[in-house]
Subunit: 206 residues, 2 copies
């Protein structure tokens, strides 16, 4: 038998806070790796890494992401509230260093695009900037948010206004094979991992 | 320049429904791959694959997952409401076939454990069954749920009562290096992929 370590809820509450943060952030499995792009009402671009973007429904096409008010990159939420739009951009292997550095605290007047070397791109008149290096990009219209009473996090819900995908990843049935463009995934708080497709299963509803 | 395909919201609404489901399910990047275990009030075990488990906070340690009322494996939600507990269990490479088959529609009286060959395991008196084959397992106490007005999905929120991890994956700082036990990730609706850790970054808040 494999040796397992067991933490009860009491054990978890007594752990060193940083140890607990790494442990709990790792415990649900792999997370999506995206950059969220916004523009302030004054035209200042912002770009921030998020591991919490989730699929919420396909018709209408809606996605959510979680904001932690105390730790969130500061300008993403205020920009979304003032402009109503944002972009979601995949992080690929060559972008990992730059993407993660967007989580450093830059002054309001510094664009994380310029600070990290990523390229802000406007497409089809949308009012938020995309990361030009991303091979899967979405322009999102803010719809709603839900405040989670248990810890004060905010689930932000938006609908896809524009979806762009590198033609190389698109299968004939609509599936995007993400390993064809080296989209990465996040393990825990600070681990970046590169997946390889093993297999697609016969269609069953997940 | 890489050729990109562009879908506007109008284009998306006009797509073939199955094509759209595959496309939109792939567009947010990789998803977590977990089995949720429940037990009915009558003692019948249930196990279902979910790609929507998300980290919501580390203190208290809470996780969420999304239920789609019209497509969800039918018994998970009713069991959670009647017992208040459930388990979250990582899916590893050797378990992919069995895990995905839990999404087939079995009659109420059939346990997905027995139907798929996975092993139900009781630990520490917890009232929901774990998947014995999983190397990272959590016993969860149901806390709350949020109904998403935009499409009727339900975000179920729970707190960790027990966490078990294979000693092999635990780093000294609490990080669980998931590729050490071949935890998989889900691409789209039906793609299973195996990640390999590229690097951990210096600590910054995500």
């Amino acid at each position: 038998m494999t040796e397992k370590i067991h933490w009860s809820s009491v054990d978890l509450a007594q752990l060193d806070p940083k140890f607990r943060i790494h442990l709990i952030n790792s415990a649900s499995g792999y997370k999506s790796a995206n950059l969220i792009g916004t523009r302030s009402a004054e035209g200042q671009d912002n770009l921030a890494v998020f591991s919490s973007v989730i699929h919420m429904g396909s018709e209408p096409a809606i996605f959510g992401f979680l904001l932690r008010p105390d730790t969130v990159p500061r300008h993403t939420w205020s920009n979304i509230l003032s402009t109503g739009v944002y972009t979601i951009n995949h992080i690929h292997l060559p972008m990992v260093d730059a993407a993660h550095r967007t989580s450093l605290k830059f002054p309001q007047e510094v664009s994380e695009f310029e600070a990290t070397g990523l390229t802000a791109l406007d497409m089809d008149g949308f009012a938020a900037p995309y990361a030009a290096e991303s091979q899967v990009q979405m322009g999102m219209n803010y719809l709603n948010h839900y405040t989670i009473a248990e810890n004060g996090t905010i689930l932000v819900v938006g609908q896809v206004a524009h979806l762009y995908a590198n033609a190389q990843v698109l299968a004939t049935d609509g599936f995007l094979q993400l390993d064809q463009v080296a989209t990465v995934t996040i393990n825990g708080l600070d681990g970046y991992a590169l997946p390889e497709l093993i297999q697609r299963m016969p269609y069953e509803k997940l």
